[in-house]
């Protein structure tokens, strides 16, 4: 690590820790920012580094959210009764129950998402190119619709999450710290991973899968592992986001294919896919722009999103980092 990059990382760390104390009213927005960074990073592992463009990675986010919620509630109460009451039952969790449940929930969410990715990869990785994108989109929509129709987990009316036991204001800071830790862990892990043989292998799959296979790479295994890594972190993100929102339901919160699901792709593309920092820059730009303009667009926001995607992929394909690389090659020497 050069000195300049060490300074940059430390500055980011300091800024990240200071943010919720400097702007306590916006702690939740900052926490969602870290989730967005994690989204873009995990999407890029598949889409950018490996060349498998998934439109349905949101599946693991929703899965993690539901697994965590069910673990937390199921530890102290009967899930069917809890969901059937539509939030009328408020279980008072003791501090211990809450935090043990949350910790166990996050772990199970991450593992559950990982297992789901491993199973799904058996089904979906025979598909290449656009078929893969459509197949994953289909899987995400199917998951949303099935959860929506499944009464045991609350169906379309959703689940009210356990209430955070700490003092007011603590809740935001706690989840902010958890989200930032998740994103940072994801970043550090991927940073390490892209430098290893594994990183080279998935880049080889992106460049020419058949040749990579002919050279003796077990492409199937690499693809499964890469997707499982994405799913692992997305499961954590889902678990944290569900607890932060306080109320989860399938179509808008857990499996929002058309918002978060497409944001992931847009952020990675805006920043420049296939790079480590591109997705982070993309997430920062996109999220800032979104937070600033979203409420002023008055119903036009999704139209703006669609237009942004079109403009991005049609006229600005290389992304911010790719554009900089063309303009200022010396910076990347």
């Amino acid at each position: 690590m050069t000195r300049r990059s060490a300074v940059l990382h430390l500055a980011l760390l300091a800024g990240g820790i200071a943010a919720p104390f400097v702007f306590p009213a916006h702690a939740v927005q900052f926490a969602v920012f870290w989730i967005m960074v994690l989204f873009a990073l995990t999407w890029d592992t598949m889409g950018g580094q490996m060349g498998y463009n998934s439109l349905g990675n949101i599946l693991f986010f929703g899965l993690g959210m539901y697994i965590c919620a069910l673990t937390q509630i199921g530890m102290v109460y009967d899930i069917a009764q809890y969901t059937a009451a539509n939030g009328a039952i408020r279980v008072d969790f003791t501090d211990r129950q809450y935090f043990v449940g949350l910790a166990l929930g996050v772990v199970l969410a991450a593992l559950g998402a990982l297992i789901a990715a491993a199973l799904l990869s058996w089904v979906l990785f025979g598909l290449r190119g656009p078929y893969f994108a459509i197949g994953t989109l289909g899987a995400a929509i199917a998951a949303a619709e099935l959860t929506n129709a499944w009464e045991y987990v609350g169906g379309g009316s959703g689940i009210a999450m356990p209430v955070f036991p700490g003092a007011p204001g603590m809740r935001e800071r706690f989840f902010y710290a958890a989200c930032m830790a998740g994103a940072a862990a994801c970043y550090l892990f991927l940073r390490w991973l892209y430098g290893t043989r594994f990183g080279l292998a998935i880049n080889a799959i992106r460049d020419d899968e058949d040749k990579a296979e002919a050279l003796g790479l077990r492409t199937g295994r690499y693809k499964t592992v890469a997707w499982s890594i994405s799913a692992f972190f997305l499961g954590i993100a889902g678990a944290l986001f569900g607890n932060m929102t306080g109320f989860i339901e399938p179509l808008e919160t857990a499996y929002p294919t058309l918002t978060f699901g497409i944001f992931m792709v847009a952020m990675a593309l805006i920043g420049g896919k296939g790079t480590l920092w591109g997705p982070i820059i993309g997430a920062t730009l996109f999220y800032t722009l979104r937070e600033v303009t979203w409420t002023y667009l008055l119903g036009w926001q999704y139209i703006a999103l669609g237009v942004l995607i079109i403009v991005n992929v049609v006229y600005f394909r290389q992304g911010v980092l790719g554009w900089l690389r063309e303009r200022r090659p010396a910076w990347f020497a």
Binding site: A142, E145, I303, L305, G306
Partner: protein
């Protein structure tokens, strides 16, 4: 679920009802899927905005009906408008992504899909709408089975439209140029076909087909800004199941899908309808993959 199955067993005549409804909707699916296959085959762009073009056509028909134009009379102007819209879309977006990798074109059309559905939502609101055609109902088997006359008319119109399209593709100069470009764009260019124009025509004709299909759907069923994605998925299911350039296959798969959806709606309940379509998509993709694996084993 078992109750519904038992009901079907007790009154087999209900099957006729499901088949009639399924076939009449399936014919419209066939049109949409044919348009998708046309663009796919000629430009290799997989149009994820297909269903949203259908919804847009439906809303244009709705708008004209508000001004007292009968939906069947609205078919022609809506198709013409959508043709023009398709041309504009081609010039602005599709033209620039044809040469690029397939995911880029997929994402560009996904962006189009979002833009179109949200614009429809903004203009017409999220309510489910339908266009009144003013036709009656036809009762059969002593009132056990009934079907609206508009469904029969729509079914007939689908056949007429499909026949006209096939004739156009086979006989006309433009149709021949389109088919030539689909076979080998480079050779077609060498032989003097303006392929850029052909791409534009293919996309615009597809938009016109979607427009007509949308009007028909608005009359026999319902339209809603966010139902578009379901039609895109259906079209993909049909084309993937049938294979490109397999017209009889597309028609069979579309009619089959229409009937299958009616059965799943009846047996499992309406909330599973979308899940059924997507589930079928996954099933067909997996089946395709198994077939590919078999091929690979043969190669080894």
């Amino acid at each position: 679920m078992w109750d519904s199955l038992a009901l079907l067993g007790a009154a087999p005549i209900l099957n006729v009802q499901l088949w009639l409804n399924g076939l009449s909707v399936g014919a419209i699916f066939a049109l949409v899927a044919y348009g998708l296959a046309l663009v796919w085959g000629v430009t290799s762009v997989k149009n994820l905005a297909q269903g949203d073009l259908v919804m847009m056509g439906g809303y244009l028909g709705y708008l004209l009906a508000e001004h007292g134009i009968h939906p069947l009379a609205a078919l022609v102007p809506v198709a013409a408008l959508m043709f023009a819209f398709g041309w504009v879309l081609y010039r602005l977006v599709i033209r620039r992504v044809i040469q690029l990798d397939l995911f880029t074109s997929l994402l560009a059309t996904f962006g189009l899909a979002i833009t179109i559905q949200q614009s429809l939502n903004l203009v017409f609101g999220p309510e489910v709408r339908t266009v009144q055609s003013g036709f009656g109902r036809l009762e059969m088997f002593g009132g056990m089975v009934d079907i609206t006359e508009i469904r029969l008319i729509a079914f007939g119109l689908c056949i007429v439209l499909a026949a006209a399209l096939v004739l156009f593709m086979k006989r006309s100069r433009i149709g021949q140029a389109i088919r030539a470009t689909a076979q080998d764009a480079r050779a077609a260019r060498v032989l003097g076909v303006d392929t850029d124009r052909v791409y534009a025509l293919a996309f615009s004709i597809n938009a016109a087909i979607c427009g007509a299909a949308g009007v028909l759907i608005a009359t026999v069923w319902v339209i809603q800004p966010f139902y578009g994605i379901a039609y895109s998925v259906r079209a993909f299911v049909i084309v993937t199941a049938a294979g490109l350039g397999n017209l009889p296959g597309v028609i069979l798969a579309a009619l089959g899908l229409g009937v299958a959806e009616q059965y799943s709606g009846f047996v499992l309940g309406a909330q599973f309808q979308q899940a059924t379509v997507v589930g079928l998509l996954l099933a067909i993709l997996i089946w395709r993959q198994l077939a590919l694996m078999r091929d690979r084993r043969v190669l080894q």
